[in-house]
């Protein structure tokens, strides 16, 4: 698979070529060209901000459709903890889990359960790798993708443990193989995801050769399907839940860090805030932190673009749900071993470089500076680039031209019309002189 695969796409029929998305994209990956948005996939980190902002719903996330369930003999739902925060008046997680079985899954394996295993592995890793402090969380795939292209100095700080959903898939399949005797390829582990970044991570993981996740459903698609089944099962739900407080807490910001049982951590959410924090960590502006939890979405996973509930309300609901749960229900005696660790180190991808060599780049940046002087600095977006600076960079990259700027174009037309009128005047003058000449004769 293409290493820059992403799952945020454009529906060109709906795109009106407005500039809302180019302004919101944190990596300046979008341009409007010929009246339609274009995503540069090398720059895109799948954060979904453009999906959130697009007033015409032209930005979409790809994910699997429900008929995927037919492809496998035995299917297991892997619900993210953020799913539980979507429902009103939910008092028992088992109701959601039973409803998932009613809607067609053969079994359910809570991602929260695997998250508790990750918490335990992380505690151990942090303790043993003091030299790598601060350790940076790798649970949010958008953040990992961002670090891969923009923060080369921070790659060594990444926590090299697979995300809870990946470990859930491994454990769920192992359980299913034991219970059913089926081979692994006939068992489908399907993630109920809050965001497109996790769709990408399942198809094209960073840090691992491949993922055990066989498909990803969007929470917003599952939500209406589940509601009627939840009503059916709410009287006497089967006991299926396997996660405690720590597991459920992963659904919102600070939950992962909270599960480490340390005080010396930082938790930031919202992609702009995440970028600011990463810039400052890179410049060593704060040291002596053990762990940094970063979530691209406001509020953490409950704020994912494929969720239906307001993230802050969802957070409160998760808090209520976990109130009477034990701290953790999963421990490392369930052997996960090497499968829980990364098997493919992440490498820096310098996609934002302007030239092939330093000399070439110096010349190009000098040209960018020169161009910026010509532009009005309004960052109006009319050229299709988010800022005047981005347009200047596009020009030196050879994908845009100066007259894409309407202000430059206006000056150009102004000059052209002046020249024309001068020409006209000169010719008129000539004619008059000629006439004079003829008159005198």
């Amino acid at each position: 698979m293409d290493k820059f695969f992403n799952s945020v796409r454009l529906n060109s029929d709906l795109c009106k070529g407005c500039i809302n998305c180019i302004k919101r994209c944190p990596t300046e990956a979008i341009r409007v060209r010929n009246g339609k948005a274009v995503i540069t996939k090398e720059f895109c980190i799948d954060c979904g901000e453009c999906i959130r902002i697009c007033p015409h719903h032209a930005k979409v996330a790809i994910y699997d459709q429900l008929d995927l369930l037919k492809k496998y003999e035995y299917t297991i739902a892997l619900p993210a903890p953020s799913l539980y925060g979507q429902f009103h008046n939910l008092e028992d997680i088992n109701i959601v889990l039973c409803a998932l079985k009613r809607m067609g899954f053969d079994d359910v394996y809570e991602v929260g359960g695997a998250a508790e295993v990750v918490s335990e592995l992380s505690r151990d890793y942090i303790k043993k790798h003091r030299e790598k402090w601060p350790i940076i969380s790798t649970a949010c795939p958008s953040v990992v993708r961002l670090i891969r292209v923009r923060f080369p100095n921070l790659i060594e700080h990444l926590l090299p443990i697979r995300a809870p959903v990946d470990i859930a898939a491994v454990l769920a399949k192992r359980k299913a193989m034991k219970e059913t005797g089926l081979p692994k390829d006939r068992i489908g582990a399907i993630f109920i995801s809050p965001c497109p970044a996790k769709v990408t991570a399942a198809k094209n993981p960073l840090g691992n050769q491949r993922s055990e996740i066989d498909g990803t459903f969007a929470m917003k698609e599952i939500y209406p399907v589940l509601l009627p089944y939840m009503k059916e099962v709410c009287k006497q739900p089967e006991e299926l839940a396997i996660s405690g407080k720590i597991g459920i807490s992963w659904g919102s910001t600070g939950g992962e860090a909270g599960g480490l049982l340390i005080d010396n951590y930082l938790a930031a959410d919202g992609i702009e805030n995440v970028i600011n924090v990463l810039e400052d960590i890179e410049d060593q502006k704060f040291e002596h932190l053990e762990f940094i939890e970063l979530n691209a979405c406001n509020g953490g996973c409950v704020g994912g673009v494929l969720t239906v509930e307001n993230p802050y309300l969802a957070k409160v609901k998760l808090k209520r749900l976990r109130k009477y749960l034990p701290v953790a229900c999963n421990h490392l005696e369930q052997p996960v071993g090497k499968e829980a660790l990364w098997d493919k180190p992440i490498e820096f991808e310098p996609v934002f470089e302007l030239g092939e060599s330093i000399e070439e780049s110096i010349a190009k940046i000098a040209k960018v500076e020169e161009l910026i002087e010509k532009f009005p600095g309004l960052d109006c977006g009319c050229c299709g680039a988010p800022t005047c600076k981005a347009l200047a960079e596009d020009i030196v990259r050879g994908v845009a031209k100066e007259t894409d700027c309407i202000h430059v174009l206006r000056q150009y037309i102004h000059k052209l019309s002046n020249d024309l009128s001068m020409l006209d005047l000169n010719q008129g003058g000539l004619k008059n002189e000629n006439r004079k000449g003829t008159d005198s004769e």
Partner: protein, 140 residues
């Protein structure tokens, strides 16, 4: 096509909200140039410390950054009070920053020591009552 890039920054008076903008811009440009990430980090830290010093002690000034394929030179000039005792200022933890600055988390006395630590050469020309010019070079 030029092979040397000259960048000019004006550092404004005592504005902490804007302090760091110049070093961030240089960092971004160096990354776009494909400069070794470790070098980028050293430049960013050394320049940020210098920038903050100009804001704390000298009410702003000018920074010129000259980049060629072998080195990055940063010239920080201010019209501040000057440094009375350079040796003392170079000591880790020594600071003349006033209390209100320290409460902001600055003034830990690591500015100049860090600038020395992260650059390959550091030269300070200072005159009491006239100003200070700091020249730092980081090799590629």
């Amino acid at each position: 096509m030029s092979e040397v890039l000259r960048l000019q920054y004006h550092i404004s008076n005592s504005d902490f909200t804007r302090a760091g903008e110049a070093s961030s811009d240089v960092k971004r440009k160096l990354k776009q140039m494909g400069v070794d990430p470790k070098v980028v980090r050293r430049v960013a830290i050394a320049m940020y410390e210098g920038e903050i010093n100009m804001v704390i002690h000298a009410e702003g000034g000018q920074i010129e950054v000259i980049i060629n394929k072998s080195e990055i030179k940063m010239i920080l000039s201010d019209n501040g009070p000057g440094i009375p005792d350079i040796d003392k200022a170079m000591e880790e933890g020594y600071s003349t920053a006033p209390d209100n600055i320290r409460t902001l988390g600055f003034g830990a006395g690591m500015g100049l020591p860090n600038m020395k630590k992260y650059s390959d050469s550091l030269k300070i020309d200072t005159k009491i009552g006239v100003g200070t010019k700091v020249t730092m070079v980081v090799k590629m």
